[in-house]
């Protein structure tokens, strides 16, 4: 049996260690590529605001049909809520989890703008069928949007946009209450 020289043994060992290390790195790299970690969902406070606004929009559509004498003001208030809803959606686009959910949602538009029936269902509530119910829903929205504004985390990356937006929406909805009552 031929004797193996020290130099041969050493270089062989080095090659073996390098091969094992390389394989390990390659394996790790491939694992990183294959495992897709889903982005965190968007803040529930924002999706809840959006759901409430979509409910208000549907409520305005229902109530306006029964209130022809107040059609002009109801139309103006509805336009405000539509603008607020669009602004909340625009902010939600900053969250990868929201964008992903919109891509997966059936019927989602290419821009990620979801149709009203794609609203988060958790806080959608019952349809609003009367002016009284609409007023109550607006009052409830003022409270919940205000609370979302006050409790938004100080360190959340989009706070500089979200906090004043929620404050403006809460203040805007409070003026709607004056008009509805």
């Amino acid at each position: 049996m031929p004797e193996i020289g020290r130099r041969t043994l050493l270089s062989g060992s080095v090659l073996l260690v390098a091969a094992v290390a390389g394989a390990g790195l390659g394996l790790e790299k491939s694992v990183h590529h294959k495992v897709a970690v889903p982005p965190p969902p968007p803040p529930s406070a924002l999706t809840a605001v959006l759901a409430q606004q979509r409910r208000l929009l549907a409520g305005y559509d229902t109530v306006a049909a029964d209130q022809p004498a107040r059609a002009a003001i109801l139309s103006a208030l509805r336009a405000d809520v539509a603008a607020q809803s669009a602004a909340v959606e625009a902010v939600l686009q900053r969250y990868p989890g929201w964008r992903l959910s919109q891509q997966d949602a059936p019927g989602a538009s290419p821009t990620g703008s979801a149709s009203p029936d794609a609203a988060p269902s958790a806080s959608a509530g019952n349809p609003l069928a009367s002016l009284t119910e609409l007023s109550a829903a607006v009052r409830s929205s003022v409270a919940s949007v205000s609370q979302a504004c006050l409790s938004w985390p100080a360190t959340e990356p989009n706070g500089a946009v979200v906090v004043p937006l929620l404050g403006s929406i809460a203040a805007g909805l409070s003026t709607h209450l004056v008009e509805l009552t």
Partner: protein, 165 residues
């Protein structure tokens, strides 16, 4: 337009935003008496008086708040100019609306500051919430006063979606 009774520890970072709010309160206090003498309807005059009183309360609170933070509140200017000369009820209503919109904008900026400079300065969650409560109350009050004047000027479109912007 209330001010927090406790002084938040992140106060120094809020001074600029509070001074900006104070400036708009000074302007409103100056403007409302001029507005009042040009209004003709008793309900509007009464609303102007109530609004002026509310702005005085807010101003006094801000001065105390700033003093507690070790800063003197900026004094009022000698004179404030309306966007257009106030010569009748309509121009008075327009100035009132402009003054309230300025207040709303300043309070909204204070709200923004709670998510930027005030937040960066640290402080407790309670102190941040106190500033936000103050800002939100001021923004809401100014939005509702704006609504009152805008409803007289443009009855079919008395509201805006984003007060303070």
């Amino acid at each position: 337009m209330s001010s927090p009774s406790a002084q938040p520890s992140s106060g120094p970072a809020a001074v600029a935003a509070l001074q900006a709010v104070l400036a708009t309160e000074h302007a409103a206090i100056y403007g409302y008496p001029v507005i009042g003498v040009n209004l003709t309807q008793s309900a509007e005059i009464e609303h102007a008086r109530a609004a002026e009183a509310a702005h005085r309360v807010a101003r006094d609170g801000l001065l105390e708040q700033l003093a507690a933070l070790g800063t003197a509140g900026a004094p009022a200017a000698v004179q404030y100019e309306p966007p257009k000369p106030v010569t009748d009820a309509a121009s008075a209503q327009q100035w009132a609306l402009a003054l309230e919109q300025d207040c709303a904008s300043a309070y909204r900026n204070l709200l923004s500051a709670t998510a930027t400079v005030i937040a960066a300065a640290g402080g407790s969650v309670a102190s941040l919430t106190a500033y936000r409560s103050q800002a939100l109350a001021g923004l809401t009050a100014a939005a509702n006063d704006s609504l009152y004047w805008r409803a007289l000027l443009t009855p079919d479109a008395p509201t805006v979606p984003f007060p303070g912007t």
